[in-house]
Subunit: 235 residues, 2 copies
DNA sequence: CGGTTGTTTGAACTGATTCAATCTGTGTGG
DNA sequence: CCACACAGATTGAATCAGTTCAAACAACCG
């Protein structure tokens, strides 16, 4: 389980601010996998930080299908804002989430203005990831999309696939919902990546047999993830 | 040409803060259409506000193609952040842009904390648009994507297509770069929309002949644009 | 064991791409 | 005013990547 205080410290907050934010009045909520947590249209009056597991923001497309538009790994947060959120939130894998309230956050920001800056930077980091996802869904073919998601996920989970396999947290349907495909095709892409000797699978474990090739297929350039790299290593 | 002070006032800043921000030391830069303005990898140490015309953020996909990941209409800005931007900036149509510097912005924020909040809200608005674009490229078919871009563009330009045609600011290639298609197909989609009597074209002018149908095809639900609606009406 | 969720495979189909050619509108210089 | 250049729009034909539908298979769990 992630130590939020440690995580905040590592991403640059001062000790006092980090402690204040980590100790803000909050609930520790368990969100079961595939269980809806917040519906589209919910009030954005909460601060959330993921302590373990994996959260996804999703939007329905009107005709029954859905698109996952963002992920939150341990150490990452969902920040408050005005009005209603057009997206829903659910867990990819069972998650422990710290949930605080804007009313408690605002005075904290008044006391520690650096927290405002911290949130602003977090928003920008998430924005960069969103841009990369747009390139993924808009311009890359099926293989590249899946490969890219694997590369990004390994990085954001701080798994070094050179030395250890990555436990893939997604079902193929979820990968389809992220990369804008069908689960059938995701399955075929996985089979093809394995056939080419780029990855090897054992259940949910994914071994990077040829990481350079995986990144080449993906067109993966991790610069867009550069900030806050130390963010999310659980202890 | 947009009055930045007026625009900032309308989006909720106090008179003093709006005036300070509008009068920050800056250059007024003219960016010609299709001329690159900032290359991928540029320093993100500038505040920009579009006063007229249209800017685009784009990312190359590694294999020669590119994806436009965000647009900035008059009244909208490109905000500073740490490090290098993985995206480039260029004009869709010739733009007048106010360009200020972070060094001048930081003391201003210290004096007017509401500006920090304002920037944070702007970032969230842009994030919502990015999410909707992900649904567009990830889940909607070719017709819906183009229809959705038309609906969003009309709204963000404050054009009421019920009463007046919208001057389409994009080339078909640019629409392709936004919606993740080829220009050939965008052309066919336009022809089909026109054949169905949903729109009518005269040069760059687009008439909404059946707006309800256009929005239905698009799956367009403008809630994600709700904040700052008065932002970008030039005077 | 039965139920549920997720993965895998096949066959037919289709929406969009690719490549190439042609057409149109606009601006420029002579 | 015309000739030319150039960017963008349009059209056709062939191809293909990914979808759809359907069924079977595997893994997990109370």
């Amino acid at each position: 389980m992630l130590d939020l205080f440690e995580s905040l410290r590592r991403s640059g907050l001062s000790e006092k601010a980090a402690r204040a934010l980590a100790n803000i009045p909050h609930k520790d909520v368990r969100v079961d996998a595939r269980r809806p947590f917040r519906e589209p249209g919910h009030e954005r009056n909460e601060v959330m930080f993921v302590r373990s597991g994996l959260l996804a923001k999703y939007k329905p497309d009107g005709s029954g299908r859905r698109q996952i538009v963002a992920l939150r790994f341990p150490g990452e947060g969902i920040l408050p804002s005005a009005g209603l959120a057009p997206y829903g939130i659910q867990a990819i894998s069972t998650a422990q989430v710290m949930v605080g309230n804007v009313e408690d956050l605002d005075p904290l920001i008044d006391e520690y203005p650096e927290v405002a800056r911290f949130f602003y930077d977090l928003a920008h980091r998430q924005q960069e990831i969103g841009y990369e996802w747009l390139v993924n869904t808009g311009r890359r073919d099926s293989m590249s999309r899946v490969a890219h998601l694997l590369c990004e996920t390994a990085k954001r989970m701080n798994v070094d696939m050179k030395s250890e396999p990555m436990v893939n947290p997604f079902t193929q349907q979820q990968i389809a919902d992220i990369t804008g495909q069908t689960s059938v095709n995701v399955n075929r892409v996985f089979a093809e990546l394995e056939r080419q000797g780029v990855i090897r699978r054992e259940g949910r474990k994914v071994f990077g047999e040829d990481l350079d090739e995986l990144q080449r297929i993906a067109g993966f350039h991790p610069e867009y993830l550069s900030r806050f790299q130390a963010l999310n290593r659980a202890h």
